[in-house]
């Protein structure tokens, strides 16, 4: 009954968790069974069996030979397991192979246990007077081995009945052979020990299986994560490669365009030179052909320029140089350049002058406006083209109006794309590739603006861009610049400043630049020598601080300049000192003295007087 229970195959398996391969789980349990304290277990069983055999040897001398055989049989089983263990350790079998190793452990294990169980029958003498002690010894051995082995065989559940069953059955059967109540009680104890061991083993096994499943799931998860990570890395690498490839292609395209348009232009320039050389020699019809050839070359050149511009803009080779630029000059250039072209098409062309000074790159802005005006004239058959400005807060809108064909609303975005030309417009490929506006947009962006466009088909268009406004020129300064007068004497003159104060040098130089002068400065006599050496030009006048550093004076500086140039260079002395020493005063008296802080008007007056042609170079002379 009890044995029946013990031999029942395990019904309750730990609930299977998703993703755990049962074969892997089994293999691990088998491994655990084989690998759990193998040497310790063998030694423990060996000592227990040896101890029991020793007792029987003492109390039942007539059973000595049987006991020896019995102990040797068990030892042989243990040795088989030890040999199997050594072989197993050397092989390190994989999950599938590990099952085949199981029998080499389970069979000797079950045999040695059965041998222990059958011990009462074999070893107890029929009438020696020591039956009770020997039976008790053997029973204790069985109990200890049964319970003590529970941990060992709990690793793999199917092993539990195979190993435990024969021992308990053999023990109970042998004990029932003996008469009296005591052996029955000891036999019952054996059943209890067997059940207890089985129960313990089952409980151990559950927790072992659970932890194994958990670790397998974790491992699967880690493996899955790693695989995912690897996939992600792979995808990122692919994306990175694609991006690099695209960038490479873009750079290659830019390089190709630059190289191609450069190389294609060489023969073209040569053609234009040859046409120019032929023109004076040709006559009549030939002359007309030459003129057409020349025009074709000019158009082709324009196209190459556009492509080259575009590739330069795309490659980032164009860097704007932002400065304060009077708009007037740019607008005048535009007017001069496009006036004849507009007149040839019978268009009214007006450019409204502006006094605005803007912060921009003059060359790039002019290029953008040229493109816009050229486009406006190209797409306008009759009417007018206007260029004008309008203030918008801190910025200035520069716009080009035309009464041309206009652009439909759904084309407004496309006109800035390369090679786009509005359908229905005069589609004249010889006039352009449709690159103008895409160039303008890139130029405008370099200058920090977007291109604005407003258009009504059939009525006209307005294209504009905004630039930061610096200031407006006052009318009087403009008229001053227009009519050469008070400042003309300063324009282009070279003034040398000697002052040990960096701020004073900087301020004076800025002022002189405003007056149209060139300037250079030095903070000491040593620096002055270097400056004179460096500049190709000799100064037209000197502005010297009276006291330069601790020991040097402006008078020495003036002498140094005059000695170097051999000229009687006019000079001004500026000084912050209220009272000069008497000898200094005498020396200084030959030069005009300007008190610090310098009044701008006074400085200019003195400078103009000093620079006057034929004016006395010094007061004394």
């Amino acid at each position: 009954m009890a044995s029946e229970h013990i031999l029942l195959p395990p019904k309750t398996q730990a609930p299977k968790l998703a993703g755990v391969d049962p074969r892997v789980l089994r293999a691990r349990q088998i491994r655990l069974y084989i690998e759990t304290a193998p040497v310790f277990h063998l030694l423990a069983v060996g000592f227990a069996v040896g101890g029991a055999a020793g007792l029987i040897w003492l109390y039942a001398p007539e059973q000595r030979s049987t006991t020896l055989l019995w102990a040797l049989a068990i030892a042989a089983m243990l040795l088989v397991r030890l040999a199997a263990w050594i072989a197993y350790s050397g092989t390190r079998p994989d999950d599938d192979a590990v099952r085949r190793w199981l029998k080499w452990f389970v069979v000797p294990h079950a045999c040695s246990m059965a041998a222990i169980g059958v011990a009462p029958l074999l070893l107890v003498p029929s009438a020696s007077g020591h039956e009770a002690e020997i039976l008790l010894t053997i029973s204790l051995l069985v109990y200890v081995v049964a319970v003590g082995s529970a941990q060992k065989f709990s690793a793999y559940r199917p092993v539990v009945p195979i190993v435990l069953g024969p021992m308990v059955l053999a023990f109970v059967a042998s004990m029932l052979w003996f008469p009296g109540i005591a052996p029955k009680v000891l036999a019952f104890g054996g059943v209890v020990a067997g059940l207890w061991s089985h129960r313990m083993a089952a409980s151990f096994n559950r927790s072992i299986v659970q932890s194994m499943e958990l670790s397998i799931r974790n491992e699967n998860l880690v493996a899955a994560l790693e695989a995912h990570g690897a996939r992600l890395r792979e995808q990122t690498a692919i994306a990175e490669d694609a991006r690099r490839l695209a960038e490479h292609a873009e750079r290659a395209k830019t390089r190709f365009l630059a190289a191609a348009s450069h190389d294609l232009r060489q023969p073209m320039h040569a053609i234009s030179l040859l046409v120019g050389a032929l023109r004076p020699r040709s006559s009549g019809a030939e002359r007309e052909i030459m003129a057409r050839l020349g025009r074709s070359v000019e158009v082709m050149d324009g196209l190459f320029n556009a492509i080259l511009d575009l590739s330069k803009l795309d490659s980032g080779a164009m860097k704007p140089e932002i400065a304060e630029v009077p708009l007037r000059a740019i607008l005048e250039t535009i007017e001069l350049h496009f006036g004849p072209e507009a007149a040839a098409k019978n268009l009214a062309f007006s450019v409204f002058a502006s006094r605005a000074v803007v912060k921009t790159d003059a060359a790039l802005l002019e290029r953008a406006l040229r493109n816009l005006v050229s486009n406006a004239i190209k797409y306008t058959r009759e009417g007018r083209v206007l260029v004008g400005c309008r203030r918008r807060g801190g910025r200035l809108l520069i716009a080009v109006w035309d009464t041309g064909v206009g652009i439909a609303a759904d084309h407004l975005d496309q006109v800035f794309e390369e090679y786009f030309q509005v359908d229905g417009s005069p589609r004249d490929r010889s006039q352009g590739l449709g690159l103008g506006l895409s160039i303008v947009r890139r130029l405008a962006r370099l200058l920090g603006s977007e291109i604005e466009v407003a258009s009504v088909p059939g009525t006209g268009s307005r294209f504009g861009l905004e630039v930061p406004l610096a200031f407006y020129r006052r009318i009087d300064t403009e008229s001053q610049a227009a009519q050469p007068g008070r400042y003309a004497a300063l324009e282009g003159k070279f003034i040398l400043i000697v002052d040990d104060e960096a701020d004073a040098r900087f301020g004076t130089e800025a002022l002189l630049r405003e007056w149209g002068c060139h300037s250079a400065s030095a903070g000491s006599l040593g620096e002055l020598a270097t400056t004179l050496e460096r500049e190709l030009r000799f100064p037209d006048a000197i502005i010297a601080d009276y006291r330069i550093g601790e020991r040097e004076t402006g008078l020495e500086a003036i002498s140094a300049v005059r000695a170097y140039t051999g000229e009687d260079t006019p000079a001004l002395i500026v000084t912050g000192e209220e009272f000069l020493e008497t000898d200094a005063l005498a020396a200084v008296a030959i030069f005009p003295v300007v008190r610090k802080p310098v009044a701008i008007e006074q400085l200019r007056r003195h400078l103009l007087a000093a620079l006057e042609p034929g004016a006395a170079r010094t007061k004394a002379a």
Binding site: Q266, H269, A270, L273, G276, G492, H518, L536, F538
Partner: protein, 219 residues
């Protein structure tokens, strides 16, 4: 007059040659496709003028000019003839001693008149450089060619004209001093009238101004 044309494109050399020959049949030409050839040719027979392309095999941009000028002493006047025309390159070329700069990107008409100008001892620099300089308006001399003015109009003595011409042709002050056997300070002193008359500070500005005002630097 002997002109050395340095350009790696044979068609380009042919084009320049045809154009210049037409302007003056007495011109002798030497052609070179790279820097080594150019230096060899210039050493074999001194040229009166060198038309130098900046994009030569093996050297890039200004390097072509500085390398060429460094290999020859004295170096003949060099006019750069280049497909680049950005103001930075033009100024750098003038700073490096070029006597003028003709962009190949100019329209054919301007290209021809620029060559004609150079042949007549005039100076050509592209309008992009003129615009960059404050207070200077692009001259109209690029389109129509009025008669070139002579340096003597500025009231220069023959000696001053001589020194000025050497400077414009790219000779450094020290070399002019050595050639004329005078001190560097004296060379500078001779240059003052022209610098003051043009209102400029250095050689590059002088070249730009001479072009703008349409001066010839014929000896």
């Amino acid at each position: 007059m002997r002109i050395l044309i340095v350009d790696d494109h044979p068609v380009m050399r042919g084009g320049i040659r045809a154009c210049l020959h037409d302007l003056d049949a007495a011109i002798g030409f030497v052609e070179a496709a790279d820097l080594q050839e150019a230096v060899r040719a210039a050493k074999a027979q001194p040229a009166d003028l060198v038309l130098l392309d900046l994009a030569l095999p093996g050297v890039s941009d200004i390097e072509a000019l500085t390398a060429f000028r460094a290999s020859l002493d004295p170096c003949p006047p060099v006019v750069v003839f280049s497909a680049t025309d950005d103001p930075g390159t033009v100024t750098a070329a003038l700073d490096a001693g070029a006597m003028g700069f003709i962009p190949k990107t100019s329209t054919p008409a301007i290209l021809q008149s620029a060559l004609r100008l150079v042949l007549a001892h005039g100076i050509y620099v592209p309008p992009s450089v003129l615009r960059r300089r404050d207070g200077m308006q692009p001259s109209s001399s690029t389109s129509a060619q009025p008669a070139l003015r002579r340096l003597s109009e500025l009231g220069l003595t023959p000696r001053q004209q001589q020194v000025c011409t050497l400077m414009v042709k790219g000779r450094p002050v020290k070399q002019i001093a050595r050639d004329l056997d005078i001190s560097a300070a004296t060379v500078k002193a001779h240059l003052q009238p022209i610098l003051r008359a043009l209102g400029v500070m250095n050689r590059t500005e002088a070249i730009v101004a001479l072009h703008r005002l349409g001066f010839s630097i014929a000896d």
